[in-house]
């Protein structure tokens, strides 16, 4: 939350002089100034995660790349958001995400409504040059209204965060490590048997892909509704003021 008393920093993003509160991230300031930085795990209204690495930017004087969603502004910072190197890295990240799971857009409920799919188009990722893994992953359709297809999960943790931070239920979490990591409900019980799930559907709507969806939706029918999130966050911020 931006405090009125917070100090102002000045910095450059892509050569453009910008001003920002000291408690703002590079991503927030870029957006305020109409500068596009691609994101996937980030979602306005949820805490930043820094997991997908698509928002990596170059900062002059620092020889590693920094994720814009968790990098706070500093006085005199010079940020580059869209160099040839960054474009290549971002396309490679997308290729790795596509190759890691089983993303078959043509038969996906979220076809045409998917953040991963549209980013691939936007960033010019037209084919995957690394070998596909084709892992064998499970589907949990035990919930009455919703289903989870782990084949399409990219481990962004939006569902985990919205369930914990907004709904306050913390039904979702990540189990396993590295390539074995996958999302689970409660203590790795079937979703339909979860005692904490309130069936609010927030996880379904924040999911960037077709991993979480409403039952009964056919190919390309699963449009996500996210309008509630900034609204809920704004109302809570007002209340705590």
């Amino acid at each position: 939350m931006k405090q009125p008393s917070s100090r102002i920093k000045t910095l450059k993003i892509d050569g453009q002089d910008v001003g920002a509160h000291e408690d703002e991230t590079v991503l927030e300031v870029a957006r305020e100034n109409g500068i596009f930085i691609p994101t996937l795990c980030e979602l306005e209204g949820l805490s930043p995660h820094g997991g997908c690495r698509l928002c990596l930017v170059e900062v002059k004087g620092i020889n590693k790349l920094l994720p814009a969603c968790v990098t706070y502004v500093e006085e005199g910072m010079e940020v580059t958001t869209n160099s040839t190197r960054l474009q290549e890295y971002r396309r490679t990240i997308l290729e790795l995400i596509f190759s890691e799971g089983n993303h078959i857009c043509s038969v996906c409920v979220a076809n045409g409504h998917c953040d991963l799919q549209s980013l691939a188009q936007k960033l010019g990722m037209y084919h995957v040059s690394v070998p596909y893994r084709h892992p064998r992953r499970s589907v949990d359709a035990s919930h009455e209204r919703f289903a989870l297809d782990r084949n399409r999960c990219i481990l962004c943790t939006r569902c985990v965060r919205v369930c914990d931070e907004i709904e306050g239920a913390h039904t979702w979490d990540v189990s396993g490590r590295g390539i074995e990591a996958h999302i689970v409900t409660d203590l790795n019980q079937p979703w339909g048997e979860s005692e904490t799930c309130t069936s609010c559907g927030k996880c379904v709507n924040v999911c960037p892909t077709g991993a979480l969806f409403e039952k009964g939706k056919a190919v390309a029918e699963m449009a996500k509704k996210r309008g509630f999130l900034p609204y809920l966050t704004l109302m809570r911020e007002k209340r705590t003021r």
Binding site: F98, C105, C108, Q121, K122, H127, H134
Partner: protein, 177 residues
């Protein structure tokens, strides 16, 4: 002006990309002034010709026959185009890749067959262990994603190639579209 020699091939796909190609409708007649369709499921010749300017490939590489075909085609083609998601990503055919070939054949021809339960093994090509996108087997020059790419997209890609340009498909097609 001599005509550009165009070929289209159909590997492991549903022929939807070829249907989309036909959906160019009257534009096919305009194109016919500039191209000669030398090999295709839509025309007669049975042998892939020795020298082809542009080949559009529909479908993924699924069998030893696909593999032989695409290697031969690559040798005799100047510009190889992966047309549609099956050629570009292996798409729906690749959904069998999470399982062993034996499991897939058992499921289709034994478990789910009510009569004549037998796995075909006479005069059918052997399936590869994994279904592969075309570019993982031979170099590909142009990628046209889409399931299928629209007639407009295909028309644009072909006319750009006829003008000697590499088609920029950024606003025209995507995976699954």
């Amino acid at each position: 002006m001599s005509k550009v020699r165009l070929a289209t091939v159909w590997l492991d796909g549903c022929s939807g990309c070829h249907m989309s190609f036909l959906d160019m409708d009257e534009r096919l007649i305009e194109l016919a002034d500039r191209i000669e369709l030398v090999y295709s499921p839509l025309v007669d010749p049975k042998e892939f010709p020795d020298s082809v300017d542009v080949t559009l490939v529909e479908g993924a590489v699924s069998s030893n026959e696909d593999l032989e075909k695409i290697r031969h085609i690559r040798k005799h083609t100047k510009i190889l185009v992966s047309l549609g998601d099956c050629a570009v990503t292996a798409n729906v055919p690749s959904m069998r890749n999470s399982f062993r070939v034996g499991e897939v054949l058992d499921r289709a021809y034994i478990e789910n067959a009510s009569t004549q339960q037998q796995i075909p093994n006479v005069s059918v090509p052997t399936l590869l262990r994994q279904v592969l996108p075309v570019h993982s087997v031979v170099p590909v020059d142009v990628f046209v994603p889409g399931c299928p790419p629209s007639a407009d997209t295909i028309h644009y890609a072909i006319t750009e190639l006829l003008e000697g340009r590499t088609p920029d498909l950024s606003d025209r097609s995507r995976f699954g579209a």
